[in-house]
């Protein structure tokens, strides 16, 4: 009996010791952070994923609405279907508004994917430095959008998540900007001026241009000017196209001529895949059923459409006001933004071939003018330079130069003229909200130029944190005023 017991006990012991391995969870088709990033190919996939959220977070048709509505630039058009857009444009949304949640999630998904590259790539992965530099650039871009939309958000900088520390409170706006500055500066040091890999990746110039944009938004004119000058260089790094339409033409994708960093798309023969959705909410509803099928959710304000100087070549490129409808009749309608429209390939809707210019040379020139102006007292030495920058952009539009006379010879007067130029040059490129907020013009311009919409109070310069974010993180506090 004792012997038997001994034998069975030893069988038991053997099995027990083997059990540790037996119960190990073996993976086959599953990728984990431990095996997914060991090679350059794996790192590359993670990198592609980190870029991918630009498409949803920035130029997805709903995300565009967040960047343009509620200003003197754009207004909601289609009040039957476009209830989302009416809410945004009239500042009547609540924190439950689902587009806030979607964009908030998309941007933080982007941050997460960048954190994985910065935090988890093994040191010996080929080109690790270049991957990390791109990830830092992108993380700066994602946080810049987050801080401008929602103010101080929680700061996530690591891929690993400590489960007892998943909830983070809001960081301050300044803390977020410090991090963006750090990320962009570090990426600027490493990124090559000319893309060594495929077209479409972040370059040194893209980082410099984003730095200029970020400093300008903080009214740090000195640094903004410095980085504008780095992008401009001797004047041969980038150029303005002669034809304004060339900026958006898919034939010029990633030419590196005027556009400094573009969000990439390609027609996929499928709605909402890798193709651009940017035109779907711009195109006129009157042309439904034709190749211009769209939903007319938003378009220019009356003010914007009527504020162009008579010879401005950009106006006819930017808008469509007439067309042939599905019944074959020529119809005219309210002006709709048309500058992104492209019908060279792809599925009929939500599958545009065109890229979205996140930052381009004309913007840098105008930022430089704004920075110089900001540094100036009423009469400063750099006056000539700021007029030259502004007038370079005007010249391409076929307009007469602005002279240093009248109100334009004052600091405030020049700023007003410059903001008007930015409006005409950069409309529907998600610049206007930021332009007006940093120059404290949102309220005054909306009041005068958009009589049918309420004027937002100061608190509404940020959107509310989405309700789902507040529900899931008890440390988050809603902004005062919401």
């Amino acid at each position: 009996m004792k012997k038997i017991l001994f034998i069975s006990m030893s069988i038991l012991a053997l099995t027990l010791s083997g059990c540790a391995d037996f119960l190990e969870e073996e993976t086959f088709s599953q990728l984990t952070p431990e095996n997914a990033y060991l090679t350059k190919e794996g790192a590359d996939k993670a990198m592609n994923g980190a870029y991918a959220m630009l498409q949803d977070g920035f130029d997805y048709k709903f995300s565009i609405g967040l960047g343009i509505l509620g200003t003197d630039e754009a207004t909601s058009y289609n009040d039957t279907y476009g209830d989302h857009e009416v809410l945004l444009d009239s500042y009547t949304y609540s924190s439950e508004y689902d587009i806030f949640e979607a964009v908030y999630l998309d941007l933080f998904e982007g941050v997460k994917r960048c954190n994985v590259i910065i935090d988890l790539l093994p040191v010996d992965v080929e080109d690790r430095e270049l991957f990390v530099a791109q990830a830092k650039f992108l993380r700066g871009v994602y946080y810049f959008e987050l801080v401008n939309l929602f103010g101080g958000v929680p700061l996530w900088l690591l891929a690993s998540a400590d489960k007892d520390n998943l909830k983070k409170p809001r960081a301050t706006v300044d803390e977020i900007y410090l991090q963006i500055e750090k990320d962009l500066l570090e990426s600027e040091k490493v990124l090559p001026a000319v893309n060594v890999w495929e077209e479409g990746r972040a370059t040194k110039f893209a980082a410099q241009a984003m730095l200029a944009r970020m400093y300008l938004q903080q009214l740090n004119y000195e640094q903004a000017l410095k980085y504008c000058n780095l992008v401009i260089g001797d004047g041969n790094n980038f150029h303005l196209y002669d034809d304004y339409a060339d900026i958006y033409d898919p034939a010029n994708k990633n030419a590196g001529y005027e556009n400094i960093f573009e969000i990439q798309h390609r027609a996929s023969l499928k709605s909402e895949d890798e193709g651009s959705t940017s035109t779907d909410f711009f195109l006129p509803i009157e042309l439904q059923g034709t190749i211009y099928t769209g939903w007319a959710m938003y378009g220019p304000t009356d003010y914007l459409y009527n504020s162009y100087e008579p010879n401005d070549k950009r106006k006819s490129i930017t808008y469509i006001t007439t067309g042939v409808n599905a019944a074959g009749q020529t119809v005219t309608f309210k002006p709709h933004c048309f500058k992104y429209y492209n019908r060279t390939a792809g599925f009929p809707v939500n599958d545009g071939e065109q890229n979205f210019p996140l930052i381009r040379y004309a913007d840098v020139l105008l930022m430089k003018a704004e920075a110089i102006n900001g540094l100036q007292t009423e009469t400063g030495q750099q006056t000539v330079e700021k007029f030259r920058c502004l007038n370079d952009v005007r010249k391409r539009a076929g307009l007469e130069p602005i002279e240093n006379i009248g109100t334009n010879s004052t600091k405030q007067g020049f700023l007003e003229t410059l903001l008007e130029e930015r409006l005409h040059e950069l409309c529907f490129e998600k610049s206007r909200r930021k332009d007006l907020i940093r120059n404290n013009k949102l309220q005054t311009y909306v009041l005068v130029r958009k009589p049918n919409r309420p004027v937002p109070d100061k608190a509404k310069e940020y959107y509310p944190l989405p309700l789902a974010a507040l529900d899931a993180n008890s440390l988050l506090e809603q902004l005062a005023g919401y």
Binding site: F28, Q55, D56, V116, R266, E272
Partner: protein, 549 residues
Amino acid sequence: MEAELIKNLKLRTENGGEFINNQSNVFQDSRMTGIYKNTNISDRENGEQFYMQTENTLTYNLNKGIHRLTAVGGFSASVFNWTKVTTQVLNASNITQNDNLGTGTPKFVNSDRVKSTLASFFVRANYSLLDKYLLTVTLRADGSSRFAKGNKWGYFPSGGFAWRINQEDFLKDVDFLDNLKLRTSYGIVGNQEIGSYQSMAQVDAASSRYTDYVFGGDLATGSRTSILAQPDLTWEKSRQFDLGLDFAFFNNRLSGSIDTYDKYTYDLLYNVPLPLESGYRTALVNVGAMRNKGFEFTLNTVNFNTKNFVWQTSFTYSFNDNEIEKLYNGLNRVGDYFVGKSINVIYTKRFGGIWQSDEAEVAKVYNAEPGDYKIIDANRNNIIDDDDRDFVGQTVPQYFGSFSNTFKLYGFDFTVFLTFAGGHKIYNPFAYLDSYSPSANMSLDYYNNYWTVDRPSNKYPRLGSTNSQLYETDGVYQKGDYIRVKNVELGYTFPHSINKKLFVNNIRIYASVQNLLTFTDYTGFDVETNNANPYPACRVFMGGLSINF
């Protein structure tokens, strides 16, 4: 295999396996209208499942006088392997179809492989004293590959005690008592049914619009971390207490059982939302607790028992009460789950009938007019919104059971089997169709009864009422109480005298009807399912002849 090692000690090993191969081939000819126009679509799937298990036990038996003991100790282990390949090809040849996919263009190819293992050690002892007092004790440890190191093992003890009361001396002389047994047990069981790889961090590298980007004009497929590691994930546990009584009287003409239970489930495996900033939406963790209490009752009677006429009745009744006791983070509500309510609770606005002509002014407050749906403004703030929701019932029956009667008269036998359930509500949007729209299909009942000034209705709105919020109220739920005549069967068994002539043992001829009648107020397709649009239960007429040789 079984071997007796020494007297009373048996070693037993049982090993088995199962291999399943399944293939699915679907070819949609372009002439059928599919999701792609003018395109042949071939779907081909090949899956394999391989399951192996071993169980090894040592059993020790001891019979000594009034004591009887059986002790079992052992271990078992199982491995589950699963692989699958799926492909879709467009425009494969109509002639060779799925047998020559090379004639088309691949749309997608995917494969998947999963393995999970389970191991258990257990000791069980049954002890019986005087055949009157029965004691069972079980201790088991189960390990699952699905949980991370350190949390793989769950320990599940249980114990039971039964007392055969009718064996006691003081009841030995009670003639009419055939059986009286009191049972009670208490134990913990575990649940690991969460799918594999839920505790480890995962990277999703499947090509999708969400992870892919474009470089140099070419598709650049991407990846993302999709699941946050949950090293603390472990077994869900249920503590259950049972108390039951078996009884039989009068030569088993009256028998049955009563059982009550109280089951407390804790460390529930549940997806909780994570902070959105983490980039993960939810995580599967052990949280919360739930309680199920109820009783089950069975009664079998032989009402008549004569040579040529027998009448037997069987009745069962079950009642269950479910309640969420705890959610997570001290929350009283998460989504549609509420502490103190059933997990199947219905939380919605209340339907108050139709606004009538003399209520026009009140209706106006809610942007409605006479003939529109009336929704109860529970908090009386003149706005109908989510704050007006209330608990209006539950979606699973509170009670259910059956009632069966069998009659035998000479060679004839006749059985009526009824089932019933109630205390719940069923979602039935079809009762209304899009009845408010004059251009949509409408039910005859709607057509005959919709609201007009001269023909006020409290059920159907006026023609053209655009107020379609009925779908957000309890108006789309109907009481699910029912009694159904599930089966009726009439049979005749031929007498032995005939059998002998035909050289057979037994001949029976019968006819039956399933789902003959249903008594319910529910107007949907099938009161027995919770699904709003099920394939309804069929009424089946059957006849047959059975012969035993």
